[in-house]
C-alpha cells in the first residue's frame, strides 16, 4: 500500500492494496485519505458483505485505541461503516517493503511500535514490512484491517512470526531489541518462544 507525497486532486487513487483502494478525499473540510474496502467478486455476497463491514468497524476502533496509546499511525478521522470506508490523515512516507535500504534504527523502531501495540492489548494481525511506513524520522504502523483486541501470547507471537518471515535473521534481532525496550526482556522471550512453537507445529517445519 503506497502513499506518496502528493498534491494530486481530490478523488485521485493514491494506493491499492490487496483488499482496499486508497484515495484522496475531503473529510470534515480537511484533506484525508479514504480507505475503501471494495466488493470482492470472488467471494459469495453474504460472506463478502459481512467481512467488509466487520473489518471496517474493527479497524476504526483499533486505530483509535492505538493512537491513544502512543502508537504511530495515521490519524483516524472517521468511519463510514455502510460505505465500507475509513478516513485518516496522509503520511508522506514510503512502506519499508519498497525501501532499498532499511536502517537498523527503523527496524528497531518497528519493534518499539509493536511493543506499544501489544501493551495496548492489540495484535496487528498482518505485521509485515508492507504495513510499516517510514517518513525518514518516524516509523508508522498502517493497515489495521486484521487487528484484534487481544493480549494472548499466541496472537502476539503471530505478529512476530509475520515480521520474522518478511525480514532477514539479522534484522529480526534488531526488531527484538526494539520490542524489548517497551515490553521488557521477559515478555519478549515469552512471545519469541511461542513464535518458535508456532513455527514448529506448522506442517513439516
Amino acid at each position: 500500500m503506497k502513499m506518496k507525497k502528493s498534491t494530486r486532486a481530490i478523488g485521485k487513487e493514491v494506493g491499492k492494496g490487496a483488499e482496499a483502494v486508497l484515495s484522496l478525499q475531503v473529510f470534515s473540510g480537511k484533506k484525508a485519505v479514504c480507505k475503501h474496502r471494495m466488493k470482492k467478486e470472488y467471494r459469495c455476497a453474504a460472506l463478502d458483505e459481512s467481512i467488509r463491514a466487520r473489518r471496517t468497524r474493527n479497524e476504526g476502533k483499533v486505530m483509535r485505541e492505538a493512537q491513544s496509546n502512543g502508537v504511530n499511525t495515521p490519524l483516524m478521522l472517521g468511519v463510514d461503516e455502510g460505505g465500507k470506508k475509513i478516513f485518516f490523515t496522509m503520511i508522506n512516507g514510503v512502506v519499508l517493503e519498497d525501501k532499498k535500504t532499511v536502517s537498523k534504527k527503523e527496524i528497531q523502531e518497528c519493534g518499539v511500535q509493536l511493543g506499544k501495540l501489544h501493551q495496548a492489548g492489540i495484535a496487528h494481525g498482518d505485521f509485515t514490512t508492507s504495513n510499516l511506513m517510514s517518513d525518514g524520522k518516524n516509523v508508522f504502523v498502517i493497515d489495521f484491517g486484521l487487528s484484534e483486541f487481544t493480549k494472548k501470547t499466541e496472537d502476539q507471537a503471530t505478529d512476530f512470526l509475520l515480521f520474522y518471515k518478511s525480514v532477514s535473521e539479522e534484522k529480526f534481532k534488531d526488531f527484538l531489541f526494539g520490542y524489548g525496550k517497551i515490553a521488557g526482556e521477559r515478555q519478549t522471550k515469552l512471545v519469541l518462544d511461542k513464535m518458535r512453537k508456532i513455527l514448529s507445529r506448522g506442517r513439516n517445519a
Binding site: G17, A18, E19, K40, E41, Y42, R43, C44, A46, L47, S50, I51, E97, G125, D126, F127, T128, S130, L146, T158, L161, L162, K165, I198, R201, G202, R203, N204, A205
Partner: protein, 332 residues
C-alpha cells in the same frame, strides 16, 4: 533424445510417467496412475503401501506402452522423495532404485512440491508466478526467490484437502472426501441457496482450519442444516480464506502471474475464484490440466529431466516424509 521415467508414491496414488526432450521441446509421453479409493476409514499407510507395491508392475508397463518406449531407452529414473507418507514413499524409493540399478542409469530424488510447481509452470507457460499449492496435506503460497522457492504463507494447522476430507467422512458423503463436498456444494450453489456464516481465520498470508473444522463438526452433529448447505458454506469459507491470503501474497510479492497446483487445484469453483481475483489484480491466471494436478509420475519425470540436464542430482536419495519446498536449491 533424453528420456526420464518418474515414479510417484507419496500418498494415495502410485504413478509412472515418462518425459522426453528432443532439442528444445519437452514432451510428456505418458502419465499413468492407480489411485487407492477413498473409504470411510480414511487412508491407512500400510494399506496404501500394499496397494502401490501390487499395482506398480502394471502401471509401469502401461506407462511404457503409452509412451512407446522400452526400458532400454530410459536415461534416468526419478522418484518422489517427499514430502509424503513414509510407508508409501519407501515403495516408490525401492522400486525406482532397483530399476535404476538394473538399467545402470542414475536415480534422481525429486521434491514432490517442486514437481507440482514446475509441471504447472511448464503447462501454463508462466515464468515467475505466485504458486498456490493445495492438496490433501499441503496448503502453501509460494514464490521463487533466487535459487529457492520461498513459502510466503501457509496453513498453520491442517492441509485444506485433509480438512475437507475429514468433513466429507463425518457427513458420510459419496465419495467420503473433498470430492463429495464439491458435488454437494455445487448442487446448493446451483439452487442459489443461502450461505451459513462460519469461522474465517486468516492471519496475514497464513491460514488456520482447525477452528472452522470444530464449528463444522458441531453443525454436522446438530443436524439443523442440510448437507448441501453445509458443504457449500464450507467450500465458500475455506476457499475465500485461501484466495484472500493469495491475493495478499500476490500484492506483497508483486507477482504478475498466478497459478494453482496440487490435487485441490482441480476444483472448478476454486479455479473460478482465483481467476476472478487475478483479474482484479491484473495478473495472468493459469492452471494445468487435471492429470498434472493430481499426484502423478510425469511431474516427477519432468523435474528429473531438469535435474539431469542441470546436473543437480542429490546424493542423499533417501525418502523424507517432511521434505519442504524451501529446503532444496533449484538450479534452473
Amino acid at each position: 533424445m533424453a528420456i526420464v521415467l518418474g515414479i510417484e508414491s507419496t500418498a494415495h496414488t502410485l504413478g509412472a510417467g515418462i518425459v522426453g526432450r528432443k532439442g528444445k521441446s519437452v514432451k510428456i509421453l505418458s502419465n499413468e496412475i492407480d489411485k487407492f479409493p477413498s473409504t470411510a476409514e480414511g487412508f491407512i499407510p500400510r494399506k496404501l503401501a500394499d496397494h502401490h507395491a501390487l499395482c506398480y508392475p502394471q502401471v509401469l508397463e502401461k506407462s511404457l506402452q503409452t509412451a512407446g518406449v522400452s526400458l532400454a531407452d530410459i536415461d534416468a529414473v526419478a522418484y518422489s522423495q517427499g514430502l509424503g507418507i513414509g510407508h508409501c514413499l519407501r515403495v516408490g524409493y525401492v522400486a525406482a532404485k532397483t530399476l535404476a540399478l538394473s538399467l545402470g542409469v542414475p536415480l534422481i530424488a525429486v521434491n514432490h512440491a517442486i514437481a507440482h510447481a514446475e509441471v504447472s509452470k511448464f503447462y501454463t507457460k508462466a515464468v515467475d508466478p505466485l504458486i498456490v499449492y493445495v492438496s490433501g496435506g499441503n496448503t502453501q503460497i509460494i514464490a521463487r526467490e533466487k535459487n529457492r522457492y520461498k513459502v510466503l504463507g501457509e496453513t498453520l494447522d491442517n492441509g485444506i484437502g485433509n480438512f475437507l476430507d475429514v468433513l466429507g467422512r463425518k457427513m458420510n458423503l459419496s465419495p467420503p472426501d473433498a470430492v463429495g463436498i464439491m458435488k454437494n456444494a455445487a448442487k446448493w450453489r446451483g439452487k442459489g441457496g443461502e450461505y451459513i456464516e462460519l469461522p474465517y481465520s486468516i492471519k496475514g498470508m497464513n491460514l488456520f482450519f482447525s477452528g472452522l473444522q470444530t464449528k463444522c463438526e458441531q453443525l454436522i452433529a446438530g443436524k439443523k442444516h442440510s448437507v448441501e448447505q453445509l458443504c457449500y458454506s464450507i467450500e465458500e469459507t475455506a476457499y475465500s480464506m485461501l484466495v484472500e491470503a493469495s491475493e495478499r501474497a500476490l500484492c506483497h510479492a508483486r507477482k504478475k502471474e498466478l497459478i494453482v497446483v496440487g490435487g485441490v487445484a482441480q476444483n472448478k469453483r476454486l479455479q473460478q475464484m482465483l481467476g476472478l481475483m487475478a483479474r482484479e489484480q491484473k495478473a495472468r491466471f493459469g492452471v494445468a490440466p487435471d492429470e498434472c494436478n493430481r499426484d502423478n509420475g510425469a511431474m516427477i519425470a519432468y523435474v528429473g529431466l531438469l535435474s539431469l540436464e542441470n546436473n543437480c542430482i542429490s546424493r542423499d536419495d533417501l525418502p523424507k516424509q517432511d521434505l519442504r519446498i524451501d529446503e532444496q536449491e533449484v538450479k534452473w
